[in-house]
Amino acid sequence: MTELKSSIDFTKIDKILSDYGYEKTNLITVLQKVQEVYKFLPEDAITYIGDKIEGLSPATVLGVATFYAQFSLEPKGKYEIKVCDGTACHVRGSLPVLEAIKEKLPMENGKMTTKDGLFSVETVSCLGACGLAPVVVINEKVYPQMTPEAITLIIDTLMKEEGR
């Protein structure tokens, strides 16, 4: 067999694919499992899955991966910041909170992760915690009733912990 030059370990993906029977209908689950391994969906993994599942192509798998907000094509940071921008959070001022984060963590145009790979930022739709609006979730921890000042303080603390 041709030697593969990818940085991706295809045996891990093969395991996931065989767990789900190489079935077209299981594509989303397969992508979720692969994302659990890598924290994002590497392009080579998408190509591999598109080649291996009958009836799919790399372009189609990429289409599915970009259709759903749950999938990410770029590596996420150590701290995944999710700013809720559902209706309640929005009217209670989620956007100023987001702006404060962006100011604190400058990112290249179009990117969602800082250069050092420490933080990634995204907005999400309703988290179901409207009573606590506006809400920010960092990794699994929920921060209620955020203000620009409060979120800046939280990020400062996290940075200090990381020695920055």
Partner: protein, 585 residues
């Protein structure tokens, strides 16, 4: 069926009967009313994306006619004030995100977006044009297809064509909502993905987003150069489609006007790919017979279709031994012309001779660039490009005086002409193989089970009795059907000895280089009938009876499969995997 079983509905207050029609749109068409559409293509699944086909239905409101099934008693109105207003708004919204430089678009004149915009009187678009700096780059990497996503209206016809005809899925939707685009994997160039160049994506595209690349300029350069001698050749299926561009009916054979037009355009020598289709049959039938005798590399796969050959090289490089080594008719004729024309025609040398071919096909443009073939074909034009040259020259095609092709290399048999329809190559090959084995001709030359170009005929078979030996032939069109056949071979389940594959549904008559035929499934049937009609009417119907072919073998090539024949008329294949995980760097 009794009268009471009849189901009817009303279209614009006219009672219309319906039976097997699946949608209101089809019923309307039957009643002679063409509803505008972008995404509806009868040979693809219904999609309901563009909403241009909306109609007003009493008590049901506004509905998309391409997805709405007919019901008895419905009262449908196809052109009310409300419907017109909606369609006009749809057009304006589509145009808002569209590069509107129509005069510089190769689709201008045959673009559906342009056509409907005129018909619906879109004279003012309240949205700003896309800024120059926001335009996406145009992908010209492929030899066959140009991709300009600034013209895409997201109708998804190309996506469906690539999936449903070829099973390849080279193109698909990316992202969603406002950011949605149609693109290749990671937006790579078409050249760098596993595209087979069949061009079906371009042939179903309603706008100029996907078009077959044009090489007209190069041909004008040759014609304008006095030092250069130009030879032209025409593929079988061109003769029954070219006329459509000049108001002739689909399937009407305009071969002799076509020759005349070529001479008027300034081509020095007019040949016919049909001649080399006969030559292909001699070589391929001989190869088939040899393989049957030796019982090796069976089933034999035909090799006329460059998209299919590329598919094999991309997807099944371990099975290339099944492909016939015979070059395609285009390449056989180019090689033959370059080799022998200087011997027959004064003032022509190998160096000053340029060969232009007119093909129904976008993949032939790629084939001409294959390294193995050494650039024998200098330029490939599509049927549509050739028609455009005739139009630009101001030639009154319909009233042209008929002319003959040059001889040798212009005469052909009926077996050659049917190459243009799916099943034709196999039929012609069987006629000749039968003769090679038995020394006699088939009693009935028509092998009817191998004919047909509708959706149900994409895979067909015939069994022949040759001296007590049963020979089974499988004919497929579309690569999704080809894949099924290849798998049977791989799994050792195949019971056929010959496999003919054409990548386009129905064969070359429905190729991407032909005038638009994606809106009406009947067009390809009419073109097919045109070819079988010519086959029936020709005095010579077997390739091995073509006197020019006999002469070529007698004087130069000796026998099919001889050393010289192999050198001139056969080629090689290799693993060309691309865009697969095996190709990752």
């Amino acid at each position: 069926m009794t009268d009471s079983d009849k189901k009817t509905l009303f279209i614009n207050d006219i009672e219309v009967e319906f039976d097997k029609e699946k949608t209101i749109l089809e019923v309307a068409k039957k009643a002679g009313i063409e509803i505008p559409t972008f995404c509806y293509r009868p040979d693809l699944t219904q999609f309901g994306a563009c909403r241009m086909c909306v109609v007003e239905i009493e008590k049901r409101g506004i509905q998309a006619s391409c997805t709405m099934p007919p019901e008895a008693g419905l009262r449908v109105y196809t052109n009310t004030k409300k419907v017109r207003k909606i369609r006009k708004t749809i057009l304006e919204l589509l145009l808002a995100r569209h590069d509107r430089e129509c005069t510089m678009c190769s689709k201008s004149g045959s673009c559906e977006l342009q056509k409907y915009s005129q018909e619906y009187g879109v004279t003012n678009i309240s949205f700003e044009k896309i800024k120059e700096e926001d335009l996406l780059p145009i992908d010209t990497s492929s030899y066959s297809i140009q991709r300009d996503m600034n013209k895409c209206i997201l109708c998804g016809a190309c996506v469906r064509a690539c999936h449903e005809f070829q099973g390849l899925g080279v193109l698909d939707f990316y992202n969603r909502g406002y950011k949605a685009k149609v693109q290749t994997m990671a937006n790579k160039n078409m050249f760098d993905v596993d595209c087979v160049n069949c061009g079906q994506c371009a042939s179903v595209c309603p706008t100029g987003a996907l078009t077959v690349k044009s090489n007209i300029d190069c041909v004008y350069d040759f014609l304008g150069d006095r030092e250069i001698k130009t030879a032209i050749q025409f593929a079988p299926s061109v003769r029954v489609a070219l006329g459509e561009m000049f108001g002739l009916k689909a399937g009407e054979n305009s071969v002799k006007k076509m020759y005349a037009a070529a001479r008027k355009l300034g081509f020095d020598l007019v040949f016919d790919t049909n001649f080399s289709a006969d030559l292909t049959i001699m070589e391929e039938a001989n190869e088939f017979v040899q393989r049957v005798v030796k019982n090796e590399n069976l089933p034999i796969f035909t090799s006329c279709c460059p998209a299919w050959v590329r598919y094999m090289e991309l997807k099944h490089p371990d099975m290339l031994n099944h492909l016939s080594t015979a070059k395609s008719p285009q390449e056989m004729l180019s090689s033959t012309i370059k080799e022998f024309v200087p011997k027959f025609y004064e003032g022509v040398t190998k160096e000053n001779l340029k060969v232009v071919s007119v093909m129904p096909c976008s993949a032939k443009k790629y084939e001409a660039k294959r390294e193995e073939l050494n650039g024998q074909t200098d330029v490939v034009l599509t049927t549509v490009e050739f028609a455009k040259m005739i139009q630009a020259e101001g030639i009154d095609f319909k009233n042209l005086k008929e002319e003959e092709a040059n001889s040798p290399f212009g005469g052909y048999s009926g077996g050659a002409t049917i190459f243009g329809a799916s099943g034709g190559v196999a039929e012609a090959a069987v006629r000749t193989a039968y003769n090679m084995i038995t020394g006699k001709d088939l009693e009935n030359l028509d092998i009817v089970p191998l004919r047909g170009v509708d959706a149900a005929s994409r895979s067909k078979e015939a069994v022949l009795d040759i001296q007590g030996k049963k020979v089974k032939i499988r004919v497929v069109s579309t690569l999704i059907e080809a894949e099924k056949a290849v798998r049977e071979v791989k799994e050792g389940k195949a019971d056929f000895q010959m496999l003919e594959v054409m990548a386009c549904p129905g064969g070359c008559i429905n190729g991407a280089g032909q005038p638009i035929s994606c809106k009406d499934s009947k067009i390809k049937e009419e073109r097919m009938e045109g070819l079988y009609k010519e086959d029936k009417s020709l005095p010579i119907r077997n390739s091995h009876d073509n006197p020019e072919i006999k002469k070529l073998y007698k004087e130069f090539l000796e026998t099919p499969g001889s050393k010289l024949a192999h050198h001139l008329l056969h080629t090689t294949y290799s693993d060309k995997r691309k865009g697969s995980y095996l190709d990752l760097k």
